[in-house]
């Protein structure tokens, strides 16, 4: 038996459930020498914002036990440069390309998405039931991941991501502007992720992805100041994996749309925890830094596990938890 690995996210069928997380993989080419890009189910790009963002003051990263903090601050060249310099290359990818969109206001999110829609042109769906990789004409953008949850931007996304009303409104406004897959990326920095996931669903999202990073801080006790220039940063890596799995578990029971799980995935078993918790797909973030082949190894391991357990469709794993 050859297990079926494809996963449907709204209009988009991913060839396999394993993607690489926004902000940890650049726009794909950075890891080209080390990673078989064609093996990836999806590439979630670094955040795209309306204006170019140089990013936060330095230092921006620090290691923590089994984790790291980052305060990159959505450093990116802005939507125009993205369209000009990154889009052409992204059209050549086999993996689904999901543009991660961020903004400081509803208008900004909308403007970025509109510009990307315009540049990528209309959504071309592959023949019914086939993964996007089977599509002969690729547009460079196969979906959007709306980052309403970045802890590293002042007056930024975080306010959105913790308020169900704002999440629903923003999602609905974006939904009205695209036929592409629309994924809302949620923050774990809330008392309960379920209402936020439901708000995204109500707004018309095709999926929710979670988790973004947890707010954290490291203080340099010799220099008497926070290590990161911005004070706090976002915690990622294996340390947060149990938090991510719990969030995926809750969200999967709160909504009918697919949940995409991430946070601390370092190996196939970690990814399987997310899938068993109810996620339909996963992303590898910090894991790529530690071992660039993590996503490939995760995919391999999921396939082997499915063969061993006699599971035919990867999407079925979401219902297997006792």
């Amino acid at each position: 038996m050859q297990p079926t690995l494809s996963v449907q996210i709204g209009p988009l069928i991913l060839e396999n459930p394993v993607g690489v997380a926004s902000g940890t993989f650049g726009y794909g080419s950075e890891y080209e020498a080390l990673v078989e890009l064609n093996a990836l189910g999806a590439i979630y790009t670094k955040a795209v914002t309306l204006a170019p963002r140089p990013g936060n003051a330095i230092p921006r990263i620090v290691e923590t036990p089994a984790g790291m903090l980052n305060s990159i601050g959505l450093a990116n060249p802005g939507v125009e440069a993205f369209v000009e310099h990154k889009l052409p290359e992204l059209k050549t990818r086999r993996a689904a390309v999901i543009a991660n969109v961020a903004g400081a206001s509803e208008e900004e999110y909308l403007a970025v998405l509109e510009r990307l829609e315009e540049a990528a042109g209309p959504w071309i769906s592959p023949p019914e039931g086939l993964p996007i990789s089977a599509c002969s004409a690729r547009t460079g953008i196969d979906g959007y991941e709306i980052n309403v949850s970045c802890p590293n931007v002042r007056h930024g996304g975080l306010a959105f991501g913790t308020d169900p009303i704002q999440v629903e409104r923003l999602t609905a406004a974006l939904r009205a502007r695209t036929r592409r897959a629309l994924i809302v990326k949620l923050t774990p920095n809330v008392a309960d992720i379920a209402p936020i996931a439901r708000a995204a669903e109500a707004g018309g999202a095709d999926a929710v992805s979670l988790i973004n990073t947890l707010v954290g801080m490291v203080i340099d006790v010799r220099r008497l100041r926070p290590v990161l220039a911005m004070g706090t940063g976002g915690l990622s890596g294996p340390a947060v994996r149990p938090v991510g799995v719990a969030c995926a578990y809750k969200a999967a029971r709160a909504v009918r749309i697919p949940v995409i799980g991430l946070g601390g995935i370092m190996c196939a078993d970690d990814a399987l925890q997310y899938l068993l918790a109810g996620a339909r797909a996963v992303q590898v973030g910090t894991g790529t830094f530690v071992n660039p082949r993590t996503a490939e190894e995760v995919l391999c391991g999921i396939r082997a596990w499915m063969e061993r357990e006699g599971v035919e469709r990867v999407e079925a794993i979401a219902k297997m938890l006792a």
Partner: protein, 272 residues
């Protein structure tokens, strides 16, 4: 750049808390200034890969070396590696030292953790001289290659390329003084020399200032914490001197030119 399990060939102490690691290097040949990253633990604490500059490379034997200081947990784990062990390695990474321009004297200065890349450069000059490949002002060798240490006990027991000068702060070995002061005595005219350096931020700032005042070029290797090491995460940013944002130590550097970065500001940040 390649990702592979390098075999440890040797890993010996060369000074107090300093070691030299030699690994097989079946991959693309590294150049001076470039670095590799290693995963020190199969578990997740420490988590991130650690960057180390190449300190030497033998094309004949396909062996690369790194000189490292035992500082924290990752380097402690490295120090435990015995010959025959495998080390998860990615490299070569980053921008190498550019060759000196025509008529430019090469002035090399290495200090502390910056020993490796400058030593590698000095070794390459020596090799080219041996092999008769033209580089540098006279086409064959650097005008000066200086390495600074605190005291005799911290001077690594390694084979130094011919002509290299050792400085110690207290004069207990080699010359008394610092590589920076040595370079300041050079009298090349504007555009007639290029400084190559790696070391403490204060030393780099001093050398950048020296180069500026003399009208020399300078190729300086900077340090910054890294997460990905390949240009994907924007974690290793350094401020551009022109205020137009940031440069990535891993992919735009680690070797930068004199005016890319505000070296004085970097030194101030490091001292803060």
């Amino acid at each position: 750049m390649e990702h592979f399990a390098a075999r440890v060939l040797s890993n010996r102490q060369i000074a107090e808390s300093w070691r030299e690691l030699v690994i097989d290097w079946p991959a693309q040949a590294p150049e001076p200034g470039q670095f590799l990253t290693v995963r020190a633990s199969p578990r997740f604490d420490p988590l991130l890969r650690r960057p180390f500059a190449f300190a030497g490379f033998s094309r004949e034997r396909c062996e690369a070396s790194v000189i490292y200081q035992v500082r924290g947990e990752a380097t402690r784990l490295l120090a435990d590696l015995a010959a025959g062990a495998r080390l998860d390695t990615i490299g070569p990474l980053g921008r190498a030292f550019p060759p000196p321009g025509k008529g430019e004297r090469a002035l090399l200065a290495g200090g502390g953790i910056g020993l490796g890349p400058v030593l590698f450069l000095a070794r390459e000059f020596a090799r080219r001289k041996r092999e008769g490949v033209a580089t540098g002002e006279d086409g064959l060798s650097p005008a000066l290659a200086c390495f600074g240490f605190r005291t005799a006990a911290s001077v690594p027991a390694i084979e130094w390329p011919e002509g290299v000068r050792i400085y110690t702060d207290d004069g207990s070995a080699g010359f008394a003084g610092t590589p920076s002061s040595a370079l300041a005595e050079e009298d090349a005219g504007p555009g007639r020399a290029r400084i190559y350096a790696c070391g403490p931020a204060a030393m780099l700032a001093a050398l950048a200032a020296l180069a500026k005042s003399r009208g020399w070029n300078a190729s300086l290797s900077a340090e910054q914490w890294m997460a990905c090491g390949v240009g994907a995460c924007m974690g290793c940013a350094l401020e551009r001197a022109d205020g137009a944002g940031f440069l990535r130590a891993c992919a735009d550097g680690p070797v930068f030119e004199r005016d890319d970065i505000d070296w004085a500001a970097e030194a101030a940040r490091a001292a803060r």
